[in-house]
């Protein structure tokens, strides 16, 4: 495999790994409620 292809593959793999980690999202919600039986 030539160097160009290796670099392209590394960038592709890196983006697959990095993007989900940096994804914006609501991670957790905690509520305190009253009147629950």
């Amino acid at each position: 495999m030539n160097t160009g292809r290796r670099v392209a593959l590394l960038v592709l793999l890196g983006s697959i790994v990095v993007v989900p980690v940096a994804r914006a999202q609501v991670k957790h919600i905690e509520m305190r409620v009253e009147g629950m039986t």
């Binding site: 940096a22 999202q25 609501v26 991670k27 957790h28 919600i29 905690e30 509520m31 305190r32 629950m36």
Partner: protein, 132 residues
């Protein structure tokens, strides 16, 4: 209530603790969860939400009125209730920095029996956990 909340869009799991009146909601990663809708669903199930805290990750943006907000989805952001912690994030507005914060999105007004769920939710930052 657990089933009612579990049916809301974007909800993965709901854990209810009867002992201390705590409800933990783990959202799916599809970004569909709407805290305002959860509050309404809680109210509709016959219980009163006293407080709602969220942990969210997103970018700091300035909305049309110039106030700071945390953008968690392209079409969803939470305006900050100004405090020292939100002021500390002002320099990150418009940058690519992703921050993780924990904050209070809703608190039932003291002395009121009936909650006002129509008011826009503001995020009072309690903790800045991470800047990436």
């Amino acid at each position: 209530m657990k089933q009612h909340l579990g049916r809301q869009a974007g909800v993965q799991t709901v854990e209810v603790s009867l002992l201390d009146g705590k409800v933990d909601v783990i959202p799916k990663e599809d970004g569909q969860i709407d805290p305002a809708q959860l509050l309404k669903a809680t109210h509709d199930s016959g219980v009163t939400a006293a407080e709602m805290d969220i942990t969210a990750r997103g970018k700091i943006v300035k909305d049309s009125s110039g106030s700071l907000a945390l953008q968690v989805e392209p079409n969803r952001s939470f305006a900050f209730a100004p405090n020292e912690l939100s002021k500390g994030l002002e320099s990150l507005a418009g940058t690519q920095t992703v921050v993780t914060v924990r904050g209070q999105l809703y608190k039932k007004p003291a002395g009121k029996k009936k909650a006002d769920l129509s008011a826009p939710l503001k995020l009072l930052i309690l903790e800045v956990q991470k800047k990436e």
